[in-house]
């Protein structure tokens, strides 16, 4: 699927992290693998430290913290907001929705649209797509796009495949129309539900409700322990999917949009781990100096919030002053993979803050 948008822009980005940082070195004994073997992954995968939310903290807590920070610091006014879109894999409840909880707790108008979307790694691209479509009808209103997850609550601490890379937090991105600003945006998205089991939380929905049985930790036969309540990623399947699907998608997207690799100032990609990104860069001939890969080593893989966080972590000063041609790409649960070309820059605000969540 391909869509073109015109004259939309990112006005501001705010990332909110939990204050508690955990070191990979301190967690190696949680796993039933030789310590020396586990520590080797530090350099290759980029495992170093990650931010994990308190057990009691949910996505709406991070989102409310962020939106209130924006309102209190005059990033935007309540009456400018036309919609709140929350993209997450971690709803506080089945009902009510995170966007409605944010609307209530931030005292936003009843005359706005609140929308939750269930998406993981591609959540920022899907959120931008939905926001841009909605902005066509909202004229001078702004959209608050929330991308957040607290996946550590769903990952076994004894699962070395999944736990070291997980990070919690939320990013809030303010989007708006810009009639006097030429921003031709190209968006391409692919999905393949047949391969969806590669990233799965088996229990917790209506198909298999959580129960004492689904909470039982089981040896997976490979040294990892997890329960049916836990998320699991088939690392090999996801790695091979990314290497096989993303490079040809990028190639066709460049062709369709009449762009070349050297037209791009920054490649802002979802951040699964350093190894996967390095191999992807090699396969697609992407310049590594334009593709930041340091989110996992600093905060962990922040799921749908990875792209706004990678901007705020690495390019805050540049993106406040200047404008850049960017290639955004994400790949993950679904399975889904997508790319977007757009100009980003001259942001009004761009920050990462810590919360006590």
């Amino acid at each position: 699927m391909q869509i073109n948008f015109k004259n939309k822009r990112i006005a501001s980005i705010l990332g909110v992290l939990p204050e508690q940082e955990y070191l990979f070195d301190d967690e190696v004994n949680n796993y039933s693998f030789p310590v020396r073997q586990t520590l080797r992954l530090k350099k290759v995968m980029g495992f170093n430290k990650h931010r994990l939310a308190k057990d009691s903290s949910c996505v709406s807590d991070f989102a409310v913290y962020a939106v209130n920070y924006m309102l209190e610091n005059n990033w935007l006014d309540r009456d400018e907001i036309g919609a709140v879109i929350a993209v997450t894999l971690c709803p506080d409840y089945f009902v009510p929705h995170i966007s409605n909880i944010v609307q209530a707790k931030c005292d936003l108008s009843n005359n706005i649209l609140c929308l939750d979307i269930a998406q993981g790694c591609c959540g920022f691209l899907i959120g931008l797509m939905q926001s841009f479509m909605l902005l066509d009808k909202l004229e001078n209103k702004k959209i608050i796009l929330i991308n957040g997850d607290v996946l550590s609550h769903k990952v076994s601490k004894r699962d070395r495949n999944d736990f070291p890379l997980i990070g919690d937090g939320a990013a809030v991105t303010v989007l708006e129309n810009c009639d006097n600003y030429n921003n031709n945006i190209y968006f391409e998205m692919h999905m393949d539900g047949k391969r969806g089991d590669a990233l799965k939380v088996p229990a917790g929905g209506f198909r298999m409700p959580c129960s004492p049985e689904t909470a039982v930790m089981q040896d997976q036969g490979d040294g990892n322990f997890r329960a049916l309540d836990n998320m699991h990623m088939d690392g090999s399947a996801v790695f091979n999917f990314v290497q096989a699907e993303v490079p040809p998608m990028l190639e066709s997207a460049f062709k369709n949009s009449n762009l070349e690799l050297n037209n791009i100032d920054y490649f802002l990609f979802h951040q699964p781990n350093k190894f996967m990104l390095k191999k992807l860069a090699e396969k697609a001939n992407l310049p590594e100096d334009k593709l930041p890969m340091n989110l996992v080593e600093n905060y962990g893989n922040l799921s749908g919030a990875s792209i706004p966080f990678i901007i705020a972590l690495n390019l805050q000063e540049e993106f406040l002053k200047y404008e850049y041609k960017c290639c955004l790409s994400a790949f993950g649960s679904g399975l889904s993979w997508g790319v977007m070309f757009m100009n980003i820059g001259k942001l009004e605000h761009c920050e990462i803050i810590e919360s006590n969540l």
Binding site: P34, Q37, R40, L41, K43, V44, M45, R160, N161, G221, D222, G223, G235, S236, F239, N240, V242, Q243, A244, F275, K279, L280, E282, K283
Partner: protein
């Protein structure tokens, strides 16, 4: 081939790789061991292993790993 076996024994010293006919099926190498191995092979032989070649079949025996290294040397 001996060099490959030496690297494997360094990664997982608790296993006897010579006694296994399939490192993956016998549980001697998991996906993270493969990542570690790729990193060591790339540094030792100054090669880049194609991402599409990083599949379990190419790491099931010393011979398949040897062939993978040679393919990427060329």
């Amino acid at each position: 081939m001996e060099e490959i076996l030496k690297i494997l024994e360094e990664i997982r010293p608790e296993f006897d790789f010579k006694a296994s006919s399939n490192f993956i099926e016998d549980g001697l190498l998991d996906s993270f061991d493969i990542v570690t191995l790729v990193n060591i092979l790339e540094e030792k032989y100054q090669i880049k292993i194609d991402g599409l070649d990083i599949i379990p079949e190419n790491f099931s025996s010393a011979e398949s790993i040897f062939n993978l290294v040679n393919k990427n040397k060329n």
